[in-house]
Amino acid sequence: MDIITVRNLKKCYGSGERQVRALDGVELTVSKGEFVSVMGASGSGKTTLLNMMGGLDMPDEGEVYVDGVNLSGLRESELAVFRRRKVGFVFQEYNLVPTLTVEENILFPLDLDGSAPEQGFLEEVVSLLGLEERMQSYPHTLSGGQKQRVAIARALAAKPPVILADEPTGSLDSRSGQNVAGLLKMAAEHYHRTLVMVTHNRELAQLADRVVYMENGKIGK
């Protein structure tokens, strides 16, 4: 059963001579529980595709369905709720809220939604990611690997069906990168989540069930 369906997705940035075609008719489906890696050169449109799937950016043409919801038809406020409940993001630059503690960062999407966390589930996630000791710390006191583990915990906290990871190991050294990618895969499998990960790293990409290559805004062979 497909949880993500991308149809004829097109997106251009800029205008005139400076126009860049980031996505050029992308077609993609991702099944529920699948782990898909997206690879490609810089500027091939990987991040743009991921942003479209997460409702962070709007396509010029085409449609994105996530868990049966057509993102093009959503208003701004509905998109916000969609992002809270349907997807969990893991960014290369972590995107933690610097003024909140680790615990508050993890619970942030739930807080925005006004919903209570499942205590047992959260404790399990925190323990799985090895964050028990750092729950009251602020992000600026953490290492890169720790920050990314907080970002993964945050992505899992609201139990979204889809996790989107944009080069989650890009800012980490190779050892930390391996650890984080391993954790991400393990967490997705453990909680039966669909994982779409953009990466440059061929080794990490091989962890996925399927690898998708992008080239000049199109899905390659």
């Binding site: 991040t47 509905e78 916000a80 992002r83 003024t99 800012s171």
Partner: protein, 849 residues
């Protein structure tokens, strides 16, 4: 999809933002406190002006009540007091009205003490007390001065009064037990006696109550006054309404106080600019932050709440500080704007919470608007774009630099600084424009301010440095009493003995019945009945004064009129003749001193004069005089009023010694004094001491100087204040632009450093950038400000309506004060930015997002 917006999270985020960015928050609070201060000040001043003007109108009415009903009986009065539309009432039982001749311009009722009425008309003794014993009386100061009653408790008071029942005029003797400043009772007040005295004086007085009514809604008083009587079935009762509540007056008051409220528009715009210029420093970071929290699912409603709470958090401590400062400023300024309120500070007297509410709301709006403006792109960008905000533009700059480096030109620090400076052209122009606007405005206002000439002003308004008036001639509402004699020979002796006194003159006046034959009065009749150059007939223009008309007709038909003998000497004589223009004959001092001649003074114009012809003989006090010259009468030389009968009169100036022979018991009405201005302070102290508790009124040179300074303050204080705030904003922009252009380049500078540039070279580069930035702006500001100020100033001095009291003085003081600050900032700010940037290691800056 069901929305669920938890708004409590916003409060947590706002609180944490403050904890993490304390310095920026404190700076913002300072700016917000300034906005709140300006708003509180202008709103409070507007309210004070409105209430002050209202008070002025109420003074004219003589009571704080909205309606006064006269001649009510007890049951009618209590029925009105119980009416549902009536908030409260005060009542008065008058037994008579003071009928001394000198009281003719005022209505003073002899009445039994009514504390409520006294309160409503501000007729409560401030010296002594209300009467308690049978023969005691409390009076207002104007009445006492007119009747020459010394302000001393226990002083005997002899009053002529007419009972309200229409009985014959009586004279009774009382003892003074208290008095108050006339203030509101300038035209109408009470002389308080006890209930027992009132009953004793008028045992058969009719049941007549005057009722002051205060309504819940003081709109259309005339209609309400009628409606009240109609609804209670009361007939044949007269009433007056308080003109202070007249719609036209209320509109006029609104128009007069409007400029003070309008300042808030400027304050709001300036405030938004000021707060915006501070939050703009971290605008990029803020937009990226909002992009980040949007990507995690923050809804537009939550973001809106976050922003409004952020504004509220900033305002919470800052607004009360602004309230205090703004109200303090209002307390200081309002007495200079609302003149004549020396006893109470207008800001405290008319205190209202509304200015604080309005100021708080406006300040919050300003803060909110500035915060929203700084993150405006958030609403236009997708979260993905917002998270990248600010990074792309830097990339474009870097590309452009790379292109230039590609030309293989040798890289020098100064050239790199020039390149960095050129990158911020937009901000430099914006900063220069705001500084230029503020400095041109300030320098123009300053030039006008320093060009205002106090000496010219004082000369234009006063004949002499000091004009001293007898107690009965202190105001135009009093009829001058020639027998008051509050200016004594001892007083004059003490005055003349002062070393600093350079010139003294006295004026005495006496109304004398006189007559003229047909030939003699022809000149005056021709003057009043002939046409002026503009086609008007002077007699017709005087038709608004019925007493003048009666006097003139009597003069035209019978030749009888009131002549005013004016005994004048010294400075007063020279001022009376100075600028008067001789319409006939010529003044000869030697002949004048013989005591056989007088100078006739009357109304004059280019078409003639109202006096008898030169050479005519007039008889004054049984002595005959020949008119040697006729001049225009200088009414400003005397204070107080003559009788209504003398509304049409002709004046005759004669030597003071002749006047004294004719009217030996008459007092001095006015004294004119000139002094050596170096001893002004000592002389005024002496004069204050000399006139204390005497009722003598002194118009001092310092009064005119104070008026001049107050007028200057009134005209220039608020524009200068606004100009100052604009300059502050301009300087903040100047500093902010420099700071933000440097602090956002942490990564770029780290790249230079990693490529081998030393820290010292980076510091020099930043300082060069600062010097270029400051130098270019100063280079633009100095000639443009100097030129525009000179051009405007010359035009203003030639065409302005206030140029009559101005002497051209070119001053660029605000610019000379601002320039060193700008220059210092251009040198110091880059060094500070350098230190801040170098706190982080090269790697930290390279890895920073």
């Amino acid at each position: 999809m069901l929305e669920n917006n938890n708004l409590k999270i916003c409060r947590k985020l706002v609180r944490r933002e403050f904890q993490f960015h304390k310095a920026r928050s404190i700076l913002l609070m300072g700016a917000i406190a300034l906005v709140s201060m300006l708003c509180t000040f202008s709103f409070s001043l507007g309210f004070v002006i409105r209430d002050g003007l209202m008070y002025g109108h109420r003074i004219q009415y003589g009571s704080l009540s909205h309606i006064l009903y006269y001649g009510l009986n007890d049951s009618q009065a209590s029925a009105l007091a119980r009416h549902g539309d009536v908030k409260n009432t005060v009542s008065l039982r008058a037994v008579g009205v003071l009928s001394d001749d000198v009281m003719e311009y005022r209505s003073v009722k002899l009445a039994a003490v009514s504390p409520d009425w006294a309160e409503a008309t501000e007729a409560v003794p401030v010296h002594g007390r209300m009467p308690q014993a049978d023969d005691e009386i409390a009076l207002d100061e104007l009445t006492m001065q007119s009747l020459a009653i010394p302000p001393k408790e226990g002083e005997e008071v002899v009053l002529r009064w007419t009972p309200v029942d229409g009985g014959a005029e009586r004279t009774d003797t009382f003892r003074l037990c208290g008095w108050w400043d006339s203030g509101m009772g300038a035209t109408e007040t009470c002389a308080w006696i006890t209930q027992a005295t009132a009953r004793r004086l008028c045992p058969d007085a009719p049941d007549s109550v005057t009722l002051g009514v205060t309504l819940y809604r003081p709109g259309d008083l005339e209609a309400q006054a009628k409606e009240l009587l109609y609804s209670l079935g009361i007939d044949g009762v007269t009433y007056t309404t308080n003109l202070a509540y007249n719609n036209a007056r209320l509109r006029r008051i609104g128009t007069q106080s409007m400029p003070y409220y309008m300042i808030n528009i400027v304050v709001a715009v300036c405030g938004i600019l000021m707060v915006y210029s501070i939050v703009r420093i971290s605008a990029g970071r803020n937009v990226r932050f909002y992009g980040r929290i949007k990507s995690l699912g923050m809804s537009p409603r939550q973001i809106a709440r976050f922003m409004s709470q952020q504004a509220a958090y900033l305002c919470l401590p800052a607004v009360p500080v602004g309230w205090l400062l703004g109200f303090g400023l209002c307390i200081w300024v309002s007495p200079h704007v609302l003149l004549g309120m020396e006893r109470h500070n207008p800001a405290l007297l008319y205190f209202s919470p509304l200015p604080f509410v309005f100021s708080g709301l406006l300040t919050w709006l300003v803060t909110w608007a500035a915060c929203v403006m700084s993150v405006r792109p958030v609403s236009e960008l997708c979260p993905a774009e917002a998270m990248r905000f600010g990074n792309d533009s830097r990339m474009r700059c870097k590309n452009r630099q790379a292109g230039r480096r590609g030309r293989r030109r040798r890289t020098e620090i100064s050239l790199m600084a020039l390149s960095g400076f050129r990158r911020e052209k937009g901000r430099t122009v914006l900063s220069a424009c705001s500084l230029l606007l503020a400095l041109v405005l300030l320098c123009i206002l300053w030039t006008q301010y320093v060009s205002a000439d106090e000496e010219k002003y004082v000369k234009a308004f006063s004949y002499s440095d000091y004009l001293i008036a007898d107690a009965s001639a202190a105001t135009g509402l009093q009829r001058y009493n020639p027998w008051s004699c509050s200016i004594t020979p001892e007083f004059m002796e003490a005055l003349r003995r002062r070393e600093e006194v350079t010139d003294v003159g006295t004026i005495r006046t006496m109304e004398v019945p006189m007559s003229a034959d047909e030939e003699e009065r022809a000149q005056a009749v021709a003057f009043y009945e002939g046409r002026e150059q503009d086609g008007t007939v002077r007699k017709e223009t005087m038709s608004g004064l019925p007493d003048w008309g009666t006097g003139y007709e009597k003069f035209r038909e019978t030749g009888e009129y009131i002549g005013i003998a004016v005994g004048v000497d010294g400075l007063a004589l020279s001022k009376a003749l100075e600028d008067s223009g001789y319409a006939g004959g010529a003044f000869d001092a030697e002949r004048f001193d013989t005591g056989k001649y007088v100078v006739a003074a009357g109304a004059s114009s280019t078409s003639g004069i109202s006096t008898l012809p030169v050479g005519s003989r007039v008889e004054i006090g049984g002595r005959s005089f020949e008119i040697m010259a006729s001049v225009s009468h200088q009414s400003r030389l005397v204070t107080g009023s003559d009788s209504r009968e003398a509304e049409f009169s002709l004046s005759y100036y004669m030597p003071a010694w002749v006047y004294e022979q004719l009217f030996p018991d008459s007092g001095i009405r006015n004294v004119t004094v000139n002094i050596d201005h170096n001893s002004q302070k000592e002389f005024e102290e002496f004069l204050c001491e000399l006139t204390r508790d005497s009722g003598i009124q002194v118009t001092m040179r310092s009064d005119f100087q104070k008026n001049f300074r107050n007028a200057l303050l009134h005209n220039y204080m608020i524009p200068l204040f606004v100009g100052g705030v604009l300059l502050l904003i301009g300087m903040l922009n100047y500093g902010n632009a420099l700071v933000s252009s440097m602090l956002v380049r942490g990564k770029e500078l780290a790249v230079y450093e990693s490529l081998g540039m030393t820290r010292s070279q980076i510091r020099r580069m930043l300082v060069w950038e600062g010097i270029l930035y400051g130098g270019v702006q100063i280079f633009i500001i100095v000639p443009v400000t100097s030129g525009l100020t000179w051009l405007w100033g010359r035009w203003w001095i030639a065409h302005s309506a206030s140029a009559w009291c101005a002497t051209w003085r070119y001053s660029l003081l605000p610019m000379w004060v601002a320039l060193p600050v700008l220059a210092a900032a251009a040198y110091v700010i880059p060094q500070c930015c350098f230190r801040i940037l170098m706190k982080e290691s090269v790697m930290e800056r390279l890895c920073a997002v």
